[in-house]
């Protein structure tokens, strides 16, 4: 192997690593194994459920009852299923945005804030232009929501590209800023005068609300999200831009030598990432809550991080995982009826992520006979 390397092979061969010692078997680490087996995400979810079952049991509840309750709440009734899909919409949109950024290792964890400002900007349209004719409200709300989210993404991108500031810190700090700004407008200037002193904007008119499917809460945002997934797939797979993204993701040094403008790509992916989260925020206020209020997002931006990671940035995987996690959120709400906190679903999400990243690496180890 050293011969091959010396003879000028540009790519280093797989690095095989062994643990020392005198055991009858050895552990071998194969760093060239980048693709993980299809079953690791499934196993991670199962192990996370098992771990949390232990905590639930230790807390004096039956894990079977709790999990059944969660499952029935999320997928057991037609109401549950539509609610799960309603929750899957922002997860899919934010998860897609996060996946685009992760393609070139930009760790956007600010989807929560980007979603919040998107929702605020969409509401601003209803507050300042209350009587627009026809479809204009919706169109303007869409534009404002996406633009505000993209702007919030830009606030993370510029410090990274021009000042070398870690995007994790910036995007997270901006989440807190966005949530405080939300508190300010719902308690202050945009508070509904007819709202019995409750924080929140006035309720949207029909012209300001996204159309819903029949008598459910499932709104047209689902179409936006699915269209976005298809565009994501086509862009990444078939355009020059997508090729450059994949190249930067695979080897940033090589990409730089190839003359790819990495800074510009960082700014573009953050604009897209933020814009999609802003769209999610617009869809939430206009399609679900029909007014701006506190807690517009029960942590969609954070859950979407796991959605993106669990899906391995794969478009179809994103659809599946966002429905799964939508179900987890709905299930988390439904256990509240038996006196458990809904944070159980957050705990599960963290545990799933733990097992997932561990699983990605564990599957690179192989046990070999002989020392």
């Amino acid at each position: 192997m050293s011969q091959e390397k010396a003879s000028g092979g540009a790519l280093p061969g797989p690095v095989k690593q062994t643990s020392g010692g005198r055991l009858p078997w050895r552990l071998e680490y194969d760093s060239s194994r980048i693709r993980t087996p299809w079953w690791t995400p499934i196993l991670s979810v199962a192990l996370a459920l098992l771990l949390c079952a232990i905590f639930i049991y230790a807390n004096g509840m039956s894990p079977v009852t709790v999990y059944l309750k969660m499952f029935k709440g999320a997928f057991g009734t037609s109401y549950g299923i539509t609610e799960t899909l309603v929750k899957a919409i922002p997860l899919l949109l934010c998860g897609l945005g996060i996946a685009v950024a992760y393609r070139i290792s930009v760790w956007n964890i600010g989807a929560e804030g980007q979603l919040t400002v998107g929702a605020m900007a969409a509401t601003a349209v209803t507050v300042y232009f209350p009587n627009l004719p026809g479809l204009w409200s919706i169109v303007l709300m869409l534009i404002f929501g996406v633009a505000a989210g993209a702007f919030w993404g830009l606030l993370t991108a510029i410090p990274k590209t021009h000042f070398g500031v870690n995007e994790l810190i910036t995007s997270l700090m901006l989440n807190y800023v966005a949530l405080l700004a939300l508190d300010y407008v719902v308690f202050g200037p945009w508070k509904d005068p007819k709202g019995f002193n409750m924080p929140g904007s006035p309720v949207f008119t029909d012209a300001q609300s996204l159309p819903v499917l029949g008598a459910t809460r499932l709104h047209i945002g689902l179409i936006f999200a699915l269209v976005a997934v298809v565009i994501y797939y086509l862009m990444v797979r078939f355009t020059r831009w997508g090729y450059e993204l994949r190249l930067i993701g695979a080897n940033p040094t090589a990409a730089r030598y190839a003359g790819i403008h990495i800074k510009r790509h960082i700014i573009i992916v953050m604009l897209i990432s933020g814009g999609l989260a802003g769209l999610a925020g617009m869809a939430e206020v206009s399609g679900v809550s029909h007014k701006l209020m506190q807690g517009i997002s029960p942590g969609y931006g954070y859950t979407a991080i796991i959605v993106a990671w669990l899906a391995k940035l794969n478009p179809l995987g994103l659809v599946v995982t966002s429905v799964l996690f939508g179900g987890l959120i709905v299930g988390g709400f439904s256990v509240q009826t038996i006196g458990l906190p809904s944070s159980i679903s957050e705990m599960l999400q963290g545990a799933i992520l733990f097992f997932l990243i561990a699983g990605d690496m564990v599957t690179r180890f192989r046990i070999r006979r002989g020392a």
Partner: protein
């Protein structure tokens, strides 16, 4: 006491948890492991302190429990990052997500219950006659004094001892350290665990001084500010003290302006620490654009023996 002295006292009290968490982060990152789980670790430290303190009414046991729990979580992070060579960013995020969910779950039963006490204070009466010093240092709590001691100890450890040399070597060039006979993995495990314990102690401090009761998500991003402060302090414990108090002052300045009936809405005052974190990091990035930032050279890179790059 005049306004400035009061602000200094408030800055120290609000800055102590930031300082402890920053010191923990510095130890982690000096050893070459990124710790983005600070927020989750602080929450777990805080909730453990509350639960054990309410159950046992013994502060010492509560602090030990919180340090123990966060040490365990730190070891999980170390196992993922060092043994399994997992993505350190993702592991830290998982820690934060799991920590905030699990702490909310655990703390549900005691949410809002007052704790049976706060941190004992050291009354140094002999300092009383000294004008400003007496007011500031005469009545500090034990964890604040511990943080002072830690700053000195860690400064000496990192810059003046052979252990510190090993620590820096492991963070800057693990391969070289390994060749020189330093046990890279052991040292990394050790400092990640100790770092996590300090971050857990920061959570305990927060809950025992600022508001002696558990509320879901009570750290409100302090863990992330500490992650920023590690960079701001350029991985140096003494700078960490100054930076933490600067942010403590910002934090309490907003609160004080609110009390004084400032015309600025409180929401904007609460934004100050977050916005300033970003601006300061941008300034530092701009000023040090052509200089080494002081980042440990191998930060975030898993060390694999016999592997080049």
């Amino acid at each position: 006491m005049d306004f400035v002295t009061q602000l200094l006292i408030a800055a120290i009290s609000a800055g102590t948890p930031l300082l402890l968490a920053t010191l923990g982060g510095i130890l982690n990152e000096r050893a070459g492991i990124i710790q983005l789980g600070a927020e989750g670790l602080m929450l777990m430290g805080a909730v453990t302190t509350c639960i054990v303190f309410i159950r046992t009414e013994n502060l010492g046991v509560a602090l030990l429990a919180s340090v123990g729990v966060t040490a365990l979580l730190g070891m999980i992070h170390a196992f993922l990052c060092i043994t399994l060579r997992a993505n350190q960013t993702m592991s830290g995020l998982a820690m934060t997500l799991f920590g905030s969910g699990f702490s909310a779950y655990l703390g549900k039963s005691i949410s809002g219950n007052p704790l049976p006490g706060i941190l004992p204070r050291l009354h140094l009466d002999f300092l009383k006659p000294v004008p400003v010093i007496g007011d500031i240092f005469g009545n500090l709590d034990v964890l604040t004094w511990l943080s002072f001691v830690l700053v000195i100890v860690l400064h000496l450890l990192i810059h003046r001892t052979s252990w510190g040399l090993h620590l820096r070597a492991v963070g800057d060039s693990p391969a070289t350290a390994d060749v020189m006979g330093v046990h890279v993995r052991l040292i990394r495990y050790g400092y990640v665990t100790i770092g996590a314990m300090l971050i857990g102690l920061a959570g305990a401090d927060m809950v025992l001084t600022v508001a002696p009761t558990w509320n879901e998500g009570l750290t409100a991003g302090r863990g992330w500010i500490a992650v920023g402060l590690v960079i701001f302090a350029r991985w140096n414990p003494v700078r960490a003290l100054l930076c933490a108090y600067f942010f403590g002052a910002l934090d309490s300045l907003g609160f004080r302006m609110q009390l004084l009936g400032s015309a600025i809405p409180p929401y904007f005052l609460k934004m100050i620490p977050y916005v300033v974190t970003i601006l300061v990091l941008m300034y530092l990035g701009y000023r040090n654009r052509n200089k080494p930032s002081g980042t440990p050279e191998s930060l975030g890179v898993p060390y694999v023996r016999e592997q080049r790059f």
